[in-house]
């Protein structure tokens, strides 16, 4: 136990000072009002992720400590939940049924905002440390990550559709609940290792840390992670959006050149 705490301390040692400056300068990292004299102090191993051509995922360490001006309360033990949420995107869930012997899409539900990535890491099984009222207030558990159905629903019951969305995304490892993935030492130091997958979209990813006791949220902490394309990826992406005609012509020119080059190369190869 002490050994583990030491490792955590080591991880903490350098960036703690920097964290305070960052919070003052940018105001991007905010700490929710503590209700009980226990507060989160946290930082991340990195707050931006660059997508290069050879990008194959990224690991982020989110770590911190609990600041308190009183002895550790002797009630329920302390728990920590860490979530990382990708930018919301619209998605349509469709359902197939058999009609006239063939499988046809019959019903559909449009979800206006579902994050393309959502991971929940906890210090103990989620069901035991978070009560459902707090869950719906802070939208922590995976099914609550999506919101805002678009327009009037044409199906009677949307539940199977949203359940399917979660199930399909979980199968792709885009939505994940990692029970026990947050390591908590001496009710004071915590650390979560979050793996961001290779199929990452550009945008602001929101990190949230919740401090809990007895099923209630005591304190929250938020910080953004910026995921963006760099270098060639960035240049192509911008060109495709800003100068689509030029980009189209460039794609065609490449295709025609490659077609000509292969033909010329083969002719030389055959005439030898």
């Amino acid at each position: 136990m002490i050994g583990r705490a030491l490792i955590l301390l080591f991880a903490l040692a350098s960036p703690l000072g920097a964290q305070e400056n960052l919070a003052q300068e940018s105001g991007a990292q905010e700490t929710g009002a503590a209700r009980s004299g226990e507060q989160i102090v946290a930082d991340m191993s990195r707050d931006d992720v660059d997508i290069t051509t050879s990008f194959d995922g990224s690991d982020i360490i989110i770590y911190g400590a609990i600041k308190r001006e009183m002895p550790i309360p002797e009630t329920d033990p302390l728990d920590v939940i860490v979530t990382v949420e990708g930018p919301p995107r619209p998605v349509t869930v469709r359902h197939k049924e058999r009609r006239f012997g063939i499988w046809v899409n019959t019903g559909k539900v449009g979800v206006a905002a579902a994050p393309n990535f959502y991971v929940v890491a906890t210090s103990r099984p989620l069901g035991r440390i978070l009560d459902s009222a707090e869950d719906s207030r802070y939208r922590i558990s995976v099914p609550l990550a999506m919101r805002a159905f678009s327009g009037a629903s044409e199906v009677e019951d949307v539940v199977p559709y949203t359940a399917a969305l979660v199930r399909l995304r979980e199968a792709q490892d885009l939505y994940r609940l990692d029970d026990g993935a947050v390591r908590l030492a001496e009710q004071t130091l915590f650390r979560a290792d979050i793996r961001l997958p290779a199929n990452l979209m550009e945008g602001l990813y929101a990190t949230r840390i919740f401090l809990l006791r007895d099923g209630k949220v005591l304190d929250t902490f938020r910080a953004p992670i910026e995921v963006r394309k760099v270098g060639l990826e960035r240049w192509l992406y911008r060109l495709a959006l800003d100068q689509p005609f030029l980009y189209g012509l460039m794609s065609l020119a490449l295709a025609v050149f490659a077609g000509w080059a292969a033909s010329a190369a083969f002719r030389r190869f055959q005439s030898r």
Partner: protein, 307 residues
């Protein structure tokens, strides 16, 4: 080697893409089809979002068919005049097809229409070609030397006005049926999201009576321009062309197309037609299975809000 695609926003294996491009390019050089009907489903299968697969597939088709055309030009097996007339019809048809596609997507069920189109047309064309070319092969074996295919020398297409001499094809027929074939293929191609080579090739052989050797080069010539038009439309209207993906597919595609063209010159016309018929039937069978078998998951996700 994993690579991140800037527009598709997914990670794929670069060698898989080069390999896929190579297989499709081989078909393209061998049969004169653009390969759109193969590349698009294959890209879906490896996880590329459908709109990007369709648009980028068109870009790849430009490269492999252009490479094929150059090889055919050298062998003088392209009927340019025929190609231009078909293209004129094709551009009109494909614009009409895009309108029809938008109308269908407003009604919903556009996927089903596309899928049914694929199964019906691939099935019909594949079966017809297989039957005809097997018959031709059997006749050729019996009588020794290969007899030229029976062409509708005095069929309905020959009685219409606006007669044009298509020297490379050895035809003197009206331009109207040629334009009609081009337009019909353009409409279907736009609805199904393909260049339409697999419809164009049999139409040229059986409806216009062109000799198989000229058909392939001419079809490729026409497809090069038609898919260039489609690529540009997709790039401008929906930003769905992923150039990184295209480059990898093209790399395999142009090499495949050259090998296919060389191989094609060594095969007999009947054999080529049998192979194309079998390929078309195989794709048709695969798509039909999707319609009739219970899907693994009854629910599916599509990015964006649909209609």
């Amino acid at each position: 080697m994993q690579i991140y695609l800037p527009i598709a926003e997914v990670v794929v294996n670069a060698f898989t893409l080069v390999g896929l491009g190579g297989v499709v390019g081989l078909m393209s050089g061998l049969f004169g089809v653009g390969g759109g009907f193969l590349i698009t489903p294959l890209l879906f299968f490896i996880g590329i979002p459908p709109p990007i697969a369709v648009a980028t597939g068109a870009n790849q088709v430009v490269a492999s068919s252009f490479s094929g055309v150059l090889a055919h030009v050298k062998r003088k097996s392209v009927d340019f005049r025929m190609g231009w007339v078909l293209l004129a019809g094709g551009l009109v048809g494909s614009s009409a097809g895009v309108l029809a596609f938008n109308m269908l997507s407003r009604l919903g069920q556009v996927d089903l229409v596309v899928q049914l189109c694929y199964v019906v047309f691939l099935g019909l064309i594949g079966a017809m070609m297989l039957q005809e070319s097997l018959g031709a092969l059997r006749r050729a074996k019996k009588s020794g030397p290969i007899k030229p295919m029976r062409r509708n020398q005095h069929g309905w297409v020959h009685r219409w006005p606006m007669k044009v001499k298509f020297r490379a094809s050895g035809l003197y027929i009206s331009a109207i049926p040629v334009l009609m074939v081009g337009a019909a293929v353009g409409v279907l191609g736009a609805i199904m999201g393909v260049g339409g080579g697999f419809i164009m090739v049999p139409a040229m052989i059986y409806l216009l009576g062109m000799p198989t050797k000229v058909v392939i080069g001419t079809s490729l010539f026409q497809i090069t321009f038609l898919s260039a038009y489609t690529t540009l439309m997709h790039a401008v209207s929906s930003n769905t062309v992923d150039v990184m993906l295209a480059v990898l597919l093209i790399l395999g595609g142009v090499i495949g197309a050259q090998i296919g063209t060389t191989l094609g010159a060594k095969l007999r016309a009947e054999q080529l037609r049998i192979l194309l018929a079998l390929l078309v039937l195989a794709v048709c069978g695969r798509l039909a299975l999707d319609l009739f078998l219970r899907p693994e998951d009854l629910y599916s996700l599509t990015p964006g809000i649909i209609g």
